[in-house]
């Protein structure tokens, strides 16, 4: 039982990270419409909120949070990522969120120390 608990503390759990991302986006952006003057502040706030919640998890991990906000006007957007790490302990979670006027893509990568 102890081994099981220890391994939960040192692995990347996608569900809990996914919840952190969704809560951060809803809180910061919510139903706001895309505004060029505010997007800078939104991207900063979203990544900051995510990082604060992640550090509260108190796990021995380094985190990288990446946020993309794109206005909805018919343009195509494709994103990809690849990682060279330890498959047993490290992981990532990507959430795609949208409202009427913009797409938001947030990726979190967690690397065990």
């Amino acid at each position: 039982m102890l081994n099981c608990f220890v391994s939960l503390q040192t692995t990347f759990i996608v569900e809990e990270v996914s919840k952190i991302i969704k809560d951060s986006v809803e809180t910061v952006i919510g139903e706001n419409s895309y505004k060029h003057g505010r997007v800078n502040q939104w991207t900063t706030s979203v990544v900051e909120q995510c990082l604060i919640q992640l550090s509260k998890l108190d796990k021995p991990f380094k985190f990288i949070v990446n946020c993309i906000i794109m206005q909805k006007n018919g343009a195509g957007l494709q994103t990809a990522s690849t990682c060279f790490w330890d498959n047993a302990t490290d992981g990532s979670c990507t959430v795609r969120w949208e409202n009427d006027t913009m797409y938001v893509i947030i990726s979190i990568f967690g690397l065990a120390i």
């Binding site: 380094k62 985190f63 990446n66 957007l77 494709q78 990522s81 060279f84 120390i113």
Partner: protein, 111 residues
């Protein structure tokens, strides 16, 4: 090419390495919805392969975004919770007539 570096450990060559990775895949092409999936995968793979060849004790994360030029606004941001003395990142912004490409590499030291 626009390049943004953070942290000295990533190395002076990272920017050019990423730029050549993008240029070798996208150079001369116009945005194509049928091919873009293949392009982003090829770019991240190529960049990662070159980074691993440097043979330093690092874990790497490479991300790539390709966006069609239609006048839409695009903002990206990233934030990292790591060891600022050993870890670092590099972001390169590339463009041609029909698309933008932003590639970032994050290098995390293996203690």
């Amino acid at each position: 090419m626009e390049e943004y570096q953070n942290g000295s450990e990533v190395g002076v060559g990272a920017g050019s390495l990423l730029w050549f990775g993008i240029e070798s895949v996208l150079g001369g092409d116009d945005y194509s919805q049928t091919h873009v999936n293949k392009w982003t995968a090829a770019i991240v793979e190529r960049c990662l392969t070159q980074l691993v060849k440097i043979n330093k004790p690092y874990k790497y994360i490479v991300t790539c975004s390709v966006m069609q030029k239609t006048g839409a606004g695009l903002h990206t941001a990233n934030s990292c919770y790591w060891d600022t003395s050993m870890d670092g990142s590099c972001t390169v912004r590339w463009e041609n007539r029909t698309m933008y490409c932003v590639v970032s590499v994050f290098a995390v030291c293996i203690a």
